[in-house]
């Protein structure tokens, strides 16, 4: 915190008021409502709600389809983080090496960042539809690809659709991270280590650690939450709910299935997951490990 501060009695509250007001009405109120939904059940005739303790949680956690979703989400988040991180890093290292055309590459690789996941999903649709799809045709000839019936094919579909746009964000941040590394450090290391490949993994990559951590968090958050628009415009969970992420499942159960209790319980379970991720993130950002 700052050593010198203002002492005004009223001003700080005026500065805080707008944001706090919006958060109270549109964030805390819904959250309270989520907890109320999660711990109550609507009676059979829809006349009122009764407190049912952890019943909704027991129901969710004993539902096999929740575990299907859970397993898929873990795989999805892991694979997207890995794929987009490695391709982003690979491209950033190449772009950092060249002198001419760097900004052209940067501009041509940055724009997918701005595209909405739902737009990516709808577009992916045209490449994976049975009738028009170029990739559908290619993969189908290759190994009989059919995402509507085969679970791993459906995984491939949503992983490609989900990874595509996120490569861009990884590229931008890795490139900025690489450019932040002191030139002198790299130049000094050239004398000791002739191999480009070894030099990258022993000198450059460790120096990129803060960026890598930051991107892992960004990618996890993206794959967990933002891909809802992709799932809803591609497989819609097909085949038989195997490609529903946890976030998507909560939305479908609550909004389409009108099971507010189950949706509330699912939301609270996810809040706990996010809590774990965020604690990790805060400790990292506040700790500034390795920051230069």
């Amino acid at each position: 915190m700052k050593k010198v501060q203002f002492n005004s009695k009223i001003s700080p509250y005026i500065f805080l008021a707008p944001q706090i007001a919006i958060l109270l009405v549109f964030l805390y109120w819904p959250i309270v409502q989520t907890f109320r939904d999660a711990f109550t059940t609507q009676d059979a005739f829809g006349f009122g709600t009764v407190f049912t303790g952890f019943d909704n949680f027991k129901f969710v956690l004993s539902d096999p389809s929740y575990f299907t979703s859970f397993r898929f989400t873990l795989i999805y988040v892991f694979v997207i983080t890995l794929i987009t991180g490695s391709i982003g890093l690979l491209l950033a290292v190449q772009a950092n090496n060249i002198i001419h055309g760097k900004s052209t590459y940067k501009t041509l690789l940055i724009w997918p960042y701005a595209i909405a996941p739902a737009v990516v999903g709808v577009t992916a649709n045209y490449f994976f539809s049975e009738r028009l799809g170029l990739l559908y045709g290619l993969f189908n000839d290759w190994w009989g690809f059919n995402w509507m019936h085969d679970v791993s094919d459906a995984y491939i579909y949503v992983i490609i659709a989900g990874s595509w746009k996120q490569i861009s964000a990884n590229f931008i941040f890795f490139l900025a991270g690489l450019q932040n590394i002191e030139k002198s450090v790299i130049e000094a290391s050239v004398i000791d280590c002739k191999s480009n490949f070894r030099r990258f993994w022993t000198i450059t990559f460790p120096l990129l650690m803060p960026t890598t951590f930051f991107l892992i968090i960004i990618n996890i958050t993206y794959a967990f939450f933002d891909t809802l628009g992709i799932i809803d415009t591609t497989t819609i969970g097909a085949p038989s709910g195997e490609t529903k992420t946890l976030v998507y499942k909560a939305y479908i159960d609550g909004f389409k299935g009108l099971d507010l209790g189950s949706a509330g319980a699912q939301s609270i379970i996810m809040m706990l997951i996010v809590l774990v991720i965020t604690v990790f993130q805060f400790r990292f950002i506040e700790g500034k490990i390795h920051y230069h």
Partner: protein, 273 residues
């Protein structure tokens, strides 16, 4: 010579990257300039046709061929209003809240800090159904306030502004105080001009965030009057060619903003690091 091979290898990998990024949307764009019958019989096209103006004019301005009552231009206007609204409200409220947290001695400082930052744990996706019920209790279904304000309830920008203010040397406030500046004068005359890059970065970030909202407008609107571009993808009908043209149009605003303002965007985010 080895240098030459290395550089060529760098370019080769980058060009493969560009290929993956550009080809899908190029095919969609090229196909959007043909007639429906060509797409229906021959599939996606690799080269452009000569129906660019017909197709895009039809998609933007035809009433009732695409959505039932409104034109796509109206939908673009709605999205623009929503994105600017979200960006303005969240940037202004976040700037102010971060200022109060960093620059004032407040008794319950940590209470406010947590009240704001704990909200980072609850992205919109986790509270979308109860948010809907709150908005409907407030009679804000089918309104711009209902579209904009709940999306602006975000502490991400506050977090970035707080980090940024903390990186500003204490001497700035000391010298401002010597000049006799009070808290409002310091905020407007000293802090805002310094935060320009950060404000631009957050504005771009929140604009794209608001424009790209998908689920919230789907849930929040029941009349076409308030539909937005991205949700329109799910709602639209029309031929494949119309859909392709609509996809291309839907990308243009956020893509242009990010491309032209990328310098501020990247600088702003990295100022924190």
């Amino acid at each position: 010579m080895q240098q030459f091979y290395t550089k060529s290898f760098n370019h080769l990998i980058l060009i493969m990257g560009l290929f993956i990024m550009i080809v899908p949307f190029w095919l969609i764009f090229a196909s959007s300039t043909h007639t429906s019958s060509i797409i229906n019989t021959q599939g996606l096209q690799f080269w452009t046709g000569d129906h660019f103006f017909d197709n895009y004019d039809r998609v933007l301005n035809k009433k009732g061929g695409f959505f039932s009552e409104i034109t796509a231009s109206r939908i673009f206007l709605n999205s623009f209003i929503m994105a600017v609204g979200v960006a303005s409200i969240s940037v202004v409220t976040s700037l102010m809240a971060a200022y109060a947290i960093v620059y004032f001695k407040i008794k319950q400082a940590s209470l406010f800090f947590w009240l704001i930052f704990i909200t980072l744990l609850v992205p919109l996706e986790l509270r979308i159904l109860p948010s809907y019920s709150v908005v409907s209790k407030l009679n804000l279904i089918n309104s711009f306030i209902g579209l904009i304000v709940p999306i602006s309830a975000s502490a991400i920008a506050t977090f970035f502004f707080r980090q940024f203010y903390r990186s500003i040397p204490d001497e700035l406030l000391e010298s401002a105080k010597l000049d006799g500046a009070n808290s409002w004068k310091f905020f407007i005359d000293f802090l805002l001009p310094l935060s320009k890059t950060m404000i631009a970065a957050m504005f771009i970030f929140m604009f794209v965030f608001g424009y790209n909202q998908y689920l919230w407008p789907i849930i929040m609107t029941t009349t076409e009057e308030y539909w937005t571009v991205v949700m329109g993808l799910k709602m639209m009908y029309g031929s494949l060619v119309d859909r392709f043209a609509y996809i291309i149009l839907s990308m243009i605003p956020p893509v242009l903003i990010v491309i032209f303002l990328q310098r501020w965007f990247i600088q702003g985010i990295f100022q924190n690091k």
